[in-house]
């Protein structure tokens, strides 16, 4: 008779559960393999034993608990009681219990998180199946709970950590895994993932109490937190990672699945985009970067073209600069896509802690990087914003352009998040954004937007990070004469469509506003109310003017015709009525 404690892991098998997904993955990888061993470490009650045997494999279960092993044996399955905490135990299992039989896969379903040192366990496996040995290292099938599930984070944010008998926060867990940590662990141990079938739950066993503000689906807090979690990565509602690994080169984890590095050099990645058509202007923008007083930056120059010779020419142009600068410029070709495509390509290649943007027809002052760097030290984690001036230019007979106006500053020096909901007043060269925010929030440029992609991007990132102004004028945004800018080629209707799309997205968001926003909004409402009152007053004044004009006309008539005129009209009216009465 098993005790309640022993029974708590007595899970049955069903399709569409983590166990079902694990067996599905085995089936997909099976090929011509039959009668080979599936070694189930930490087997518990052997939920997958029968399905594995049905596939034609030979099941062997290992567990430290006798109850589960007994259950398996009673069902005709091979199972052994072994304490895998013992360093020599795995060798005993492989060499003595499995013996010469070939092992197709080792399954560790809800096991790895109970092991004191997962790293040591994987190293032991390596020793049991040495390279070039009698048996190749079998596949490893893992099922591991996700500590990054939204429900856990939503509660922990409010100071709640509910440990339970089983589930995501099983009281016996010794390790906790996000997808990134699992990937890193396996990669460092020399394994590469070959397939996955993660198991998701919209509401995990941690989804209680239901009326907690961060859990209840209808609260603004929950909406905001769910959006943040959704944008961070694709695993917010994965309950269990179910994955297959094989011995490999131990390559770097897929982008986005790495734990954030503790120290990233350099401070700033400058992403430039060019189509390679304005070579002089590109050279000037590069010259401005070379002249920076703070050289703690790299340049990612994205050539947006389908014409490889253009990219080669740009590379040649970069190579003309002193090597101390040219060595920090990485030229990459980006073909196809909208204006956001080269920016996203640049983001994927960026190594800096912050990222800034510079188009090939804009200029920056020598302290552009320095101003961002200084502000980042006092306001970490925020979007940094400097002041951008505008200067009118036109096509020229000599050179690519002629400056026709002084530098003006039409954009506010202070970022106003409320007014930015209406329209953008922050040129892309004004801002530097922490890369950790871009990676954590999954913030990329929306390539479905033909224009206004920078405004959309800024609003999504600034909503969570906030904006810190440097109050320094460090860039010049060139305004082409009407009809000469590349963006002028886009019809007005397209601008309106993209603007509506951005507004629709903003409307769908729960907005975070900084301190002082309440006063701004109140002032806007008052301005709007005042505007309505003024309009009503205008209407009333117009009506009164009409009435007054009518009265003046009547007075003028009376003065002209006098009382006799009135009497005459009255007599005339009476005579008419008399004639009418006589004729009827």
């Amino acid at each position: 008779m098993t005790t309640p404690s022993e029974q708590r892991y007595a899970f049955g098998f069903a399709a569409g559960t983590p166990y079902g997904h694990a067996v599905d993955l085995l089936r997909l990888r099976q090929g011509d393999h039959h009668s080979e061993v599936i070694l189930d470490l930490g087997c518990g009650f052997g939920a997958i034993a029968e399905p594995v045997e049905d596939l034609g494999f030979s099941y062997v279960g290992i567990d430290v608990e006798g109850a589960g092993v007994e259950s398996l044996r009673s069902r005709g399955m091979e199972a052994h009681v072994v304490d895998l905490a013992d360093p020599a135990a795995l060798g005993h299992v492989i060499n003595d219990l499995v013996g010469p039989r070939r092992v197709f896969a080792i399954t560790m379903l809800d096991f790895l998180e109970h092991v004191p040192s997962p790293r040591a366990l994987l190293a032991s496996l390596e020793e049991c199946f040495p390279k070039g040995g009698t048996h190749e290292l079998p596949l490893i099938v893992l099922s591991v709970p996700n500590v990054g599930h939204y429900d856990i984070a939503a509660k922990l944010l409010l100071g709640i950590w509910d440990v339970s008998a089983t589930g995501l926060l099983d009281e016996t867990h010794l390790s906790w895994f996000t997808s990134g940590r699992l990937t890193s662990l396996m990669s460092e141990a020399g394994y590469q993932e070959v397939s996955r079938k993660d198991f998701s739950l919209a509401a995990s066993d941690q989804a209680f109490p239901w009326d907690l503000a961060s859990l209840a689906s209808t609260t603004p807090l929950s909406s905001l937190l769910r959006r943040i979690r959704r944008e961070a990565d694709e695993f917010g509602w994965v309950n269990q990672f179910v994955r297959v690994y094989e011995r490999g080169a131990g390559s770097a984890p897929p982008q986005g699945e790495q734990d954030p590095p503790s120290h990233v050099e350099p401070f700033l990645s400058v992403i430039m985009r060019t189509q390679g058509r304005r070579r002089q202007m590109l050279g000037e923008a590069l010259l401005c970067l070379m002249a920076q007083t703070d050289d703690d930056f790299e340049v990612i120059l994205c050539v947006h073209t389908d014409d490889s010779p253009v990219t080669a020419e740009v590379k040649s142009q970069v190579s003309q600069f002193p090597s101390s600068f040219a060595a920090r410029v990485n030229v990459i070709e980006v073909s196809g896509g909208s204006r956001g495509a080269p920016l996203n390509a640049g983001l994927k290649s960026a190594n800096g802690r912050y990222v800034a943007f510079l188009d090939d027809d804009d200029l920056v002052t020598a302290n552009w990087v320095e101003a961002f760097h200084r502000r980042a030290a006092t306001n970490p984690g925020q979007v940094l914003r400097s002041v951008t001036g505008t200067q009118t230019i036109t096509a020229a007979a000599r050179g690519e352009y002629l400056v026709t106006g002084r530098v003006d500053f039409p954009y506010p020096s202070k970022f106003d998040p409320v007014r930015h909901l209406y329209s953008n007043s922050t040129p892309i060269c004004s801002i530097a954004i922490p890369m950790v925010a871009i990676r954590a929030n999954g913030a990329w440029f929306d390539e479905s937007l033909a224009v206004l992609e920078d405004w959309d991007f800024l609003m999504r990132v600034s909503n969570t990070c906030g904006v810190s102004d440097t109050w320094e004028a460090t860039s010049i945004y060139h305004l082409w004469a009407p009809g000469q800018a590349s963006s002028a080629a886009e019809p007005e209707a397209l601008w309106m469509t993209c603007r509506d799309a951005v507004h629709a997205r903003l409307n769908d968001m729960v907005l975070l506003l900084p301190r002082g926003s309440a006063s701004s909004i109140a002032q806007l409402v008052e301005d709007g109310t005042s505007s309505e009152r003024l309009h009503a007053l205008d209407m009333e004044v117009a009506r009164l003017r009409g009435e007054t004009a009518q009265q003046y006309a009547e007075i003028a008539w009376l003065r002209k015709h006098g009382l006799r005129g009135l009497m005459r009209d009255a007599v005339h009216a009476l005579r008419q009525r008399f004639r009418t009465a006589r004729s009827s």
Binding site: Q280, E284, Q320, S324, V403, I476
Partner: protein, 297 residues
Amino acid sequence: MVSLRIQFVLFETDPARFVTVVETAAESARLAIDTGVIGSAALAIGDCSPSPSLDSQGIASAEGAAAPLDCAYTFFDANLGSGGGSNELWRARREDSDLLLILNPDTMCSPTLIAELAGFMLQDPSIGIADARQIPMEHPKAFDPTTLDVSWASGACMMLRREAFEAVGLFAAEYFPLYCDDVDLSWRIRLQGYRCVHVPTAVVHHDKRPNLSGRPTASDLEQYWAALGGLLMATRWGRQDLAEDLEISLQKSDDAIQTRALADFLEMRRDGTLPESLPGGERVAEFMSGNYAEHRF
């Protein structure tokens, strides 16, 4: 083959940043040599600082940045001013250079700067002096879009033909140690019959930064020379009327810098050290609302 001399005059210059400045000038010269625009180049650095801006390591770094071009450093142990320093470096040269490029120590050359400037100048022997487009804060001087003729060339980055420079007796450093020296030199070269041009495809970075008014921030020194230089220029270039108007305007000013500039001018007048009016100066001098050229903006 055309030879080029590149000259810098330093005053309390940051040595680390200046090495990068030298690097860009040398790279630009090397590209002009490689493309056959010029045949050779050499660099000369004159230091007017109270104590040397470059120590032995700084000098070695500058020489390394310029290599394989020759680079010579001279500590003047006196403040000769930018014009005086340039004159001294030129007189001390051991080689005979066809072209002279004068660069501010706070400028950085685009790779094609020298090829563009020299290439344009060498097409026409009547061009005596030329300047480059400055970024990010472009100078508002107007220029002829076809001939590229301009009233005066900026000393932050100016290229001179040897014959033209020597024909006018180099910079008038005794009158203009700092600021207006470039305007005065340009007009004297034009008075000699040479052309002065602006080459917009020759680009140099000049570290100017706007304040929120949109204009570069003017130092006290710049403000002083805007006042004193204006008086001297008007006097020298045949515009006594302007000089008198400016004198009256400065007398009414309560700005200390302007007051000092006027006082220094009056002292020069008393001492008889004001520049004499140049015959024919009014033919080339352009006084436009406080500027020395028509401005585009």
